[in-house]
Symmetry: C2
Subunit: 213 residues, 2 copies
Amino acid sequence: MEGSAVSGSQDGQIASPRRAPSQQRSRERVERMLAAASALIAEQGSDAMRMGEVAERAGVSIGSLYQFFPDKRAIIWALAERYTTESQACIAAALAGVNDAEDLRRAFSELVDIYYGMFLAEPVMRDIWSGTQADKALRELELADSRANAEFLTAVLKRLRPSADPEALETTAFLIWQMGEAAMRLAISVGRQEGDRLVAAYKRMALRELLDR
Amino acid sequence: MEGSAVSGSQDGQIASPRRAPSQQRSRERVERMLAAASALIAEQGSDAMRMGEVAERAGVSIGSLYQFFPDKRAIIWALAERYTTESQACIAAALAGVNDAEDLRRAFSELVDIYYGMFLAEPVMRDIWSGTQADKALRELELADSRANAEFLTAVLKRLRPSADPEALETTAFLIWQMGEAAMRLAISVGRQEGDRLVAAYKRMALRELLDR
DNA sequence: TACAAATGTGAGTAATCCTCACATTTGCAA
DNA sequence: TTGCAAATGTGAGGATTACTCACATTTGTA
């Protein structure tokens, strides 16, 4: 079995893969590299993160870094991928048990709060998703993530409104999800007070649409 | 009189200004530089745009380029600034005559179509606003632009709903505007057909909120 | 005509991503 | 245990590119 190597992107496509760590030693080292990158991004942002600094802080040589990551973006991509995997499970769980409008209201409201809290608390995630637009591979990862999350929402809507046009529900869910991310990004880039108001307004708008009142 | 020089950003603040072109000759050369940059961004994206290439295509030396633009981002910023100035006038005009709900529906609907058309037709604008998040100065320009545009919308809402809480109207207008830009960005990054559906769905959602039905 | 300010030039500097030829360690079959 | 191929580790150096600077030329004007 050939575990897929940590990969990144050259111009949007998945790029030259690197060796996947197969020994315990190297797996630990890759973890250290990711941890170092994460710390540096939290401190200075991914743009200012220097590959040499990542290697130094992880206690490995620059060559080792490139043994497992084809380029700088691949490290950021790997971190982003962990976040999406983690949060998707959380979202699926939150929306799985929704069976009526009141459930949906409660679950969606909680979800927005959790997401907003994450955006506020996680400088790394914030930085990565902010820079998302500049990097094609990241943009695609986010898009895929958004689609996956929107699908959970679509499933709920189909349950609640079985007579509605399925394609319209998909579009609505996708749009609402994507707008939520936009609203969060906006909210964290203005002051805390205005940010809270914006998130609350988004929540109200989205719920009005989801519940179709 | 000391015309403000073309400026850019170092780390979010306005950066070391360069000389403003005061002679006819240099003003024409600056125009050529901007035109060259614009063409290169349209062809390859702002990330792949090389300063040397801009200079060459404009028929000036690299030194001349840096005489008027403190850094690469300043060129992009200058192009972005032209777009915002242009479109703000257009938006203000479209919303100025709105006096009732039906006016608003028509004007907003047209505005969205025009914006969407611009996003589809202008590769430079699209590229610049896509990369927006990565650059602090651009992010701030976009935010300021959004606020300005949202204010036109706020003014309309205050006219239509004088008894509503003004702060709430401001938040609504700002959010709707920002979400519109997010919806456009999303729409152009998926296929044309799905994009059209997303824009239509956004328009419907936004109008429902604006008209508060 | 003189001369200061504005403008123009491009070889060179600095920063940084990434490669590559070679060294070392590990897993495993004989 | 020993031999050896595969995996892993290294860091000097190549390549690219944004940006500088010392100096040359042009322009406005007194």
